[in-house]
Symmetry: C2
Subunit: 198 residues, 2 copies
């Protein structure tokens, strides 16, 4: 016989599919949920159903929101001519948390990747090129991850937009609070090449 009832095993299996949880931690999480079923499990199931019903991708930028167009795209205040291109919604949220960028976003939904057969049409690159014209964008800021795929995608987008708009990218260098001894060679090389006079 199985060690837990069938419904509970099914729940554990689904929880184990979440990133960051394996079979063992999913089991622990489900036991915790069952112990707190009134306080945590019922509200969590309801919150999950509510989000599953309302959350969708913004038709304009790809951000996740509860309407067809997200609050950033509808806010006139954010129409300052700056467009920040990110790979993923998580990156958009990270930029928003830093609370320093006041323009709009464009979420690509990934990076170009020859290995995974991801071309420009799989990402939101055609839509990005449309928006640059239709929204009167003056600067496209590429905030892509400093990985090989991220940088390849950045160069591809810069080529496509060449001449139409000012294209910039995030600075690379020593992170704030970073200790040289713990940094990789690539970061030190980039930081040295981009050195500034004090």
């Amino acid at each position: 016989m199985s060690d837990a009832p069938r419904e509970i095993e099914a729940l554990i299996e689904m929880m184990a599919k979440l990133p960051g949880l394996g079979p063992r931690s999913a089991r622990r999480a489900v036991l915790h949920l069952i112990k707190k079923r009134g306080l945590l499990m019922n509200p969590l199931a309801e919150a999950m159903q509510a989000v599953a019903q309302t959350a969708r991708e913004c038709l304009n930028c790809g951000n996740i929101s509860t309407g067809d167009v997200c609050p950033i795209c509808t806010s006139e205040k954010r129409a300052n001519g700056e467009l920040c291109v990110v790979e993923d919604v998580a990156d958009l949220w990270a930029m928003e948390r830093s609370n320093v960028f006041k323009g709009r976003y464009h979420v690509l939904g990934g990076t170009l990747s020859a290995l995974d057969a991801v071309g420009p049409d799989e990402l939101r690159i055609p839509k990005l090129i449309d928006r640059v014209t239709s929204e009167g964008i003056t600067e496209v800021i590429l905030a892509l991850n400093a990985t090989i795929d991220g940088q390849t995608t950045a160069h591809y987008i810069a080529d496509q937009l060449d001449g139409r708009v000012n294209v910039t990218s995030l600075a690379q260098g020593v992170p704030i609070g970073g200790e040289l001894d713990y940094l990789d060679d690539g970061t030190i090389t980039a930081a040295l090449r981009a050195r500034k006079s004090l």
Copy 2:
């Protein structure tokens, strides 16, 4: 403004309360769920609601089950006179996975703890003493964690049952596959004291 819509922030906050997930991994899990809302999020919410409605503690042993009395307590095959006492349902599931114990269980729901003011009545100790008589138990096997609280609880239960029934506990020693060099002093001491002739 917040970096995610209110409903989504609420879901992230609840997910972050699960053991093994922090705010950052909860955010990542929720984004994953939103991306797979048809395939994973809706079924997960439904499975969670189903378990929240049906799962309850077995009135006899404290195991989690979908009825008032769990399948192990109702199975006549498991009435072999052996009763295995565990701290938690997770420990019961671990024992069941090893597939070697054929008797019944009794889940205490924790350990005695002076610091947390947990006395015998907060655990299922009175019920355990009842069961020893009413179910004709011949051996009580204490499978409690090898922690100070676990061992204190084991000694307390052994005292309470003294003379009524044979009380044993799991052997302590070198775990299978364990290397002496990586074992703590306490385990080596226990294994040496309990050495057996080959």
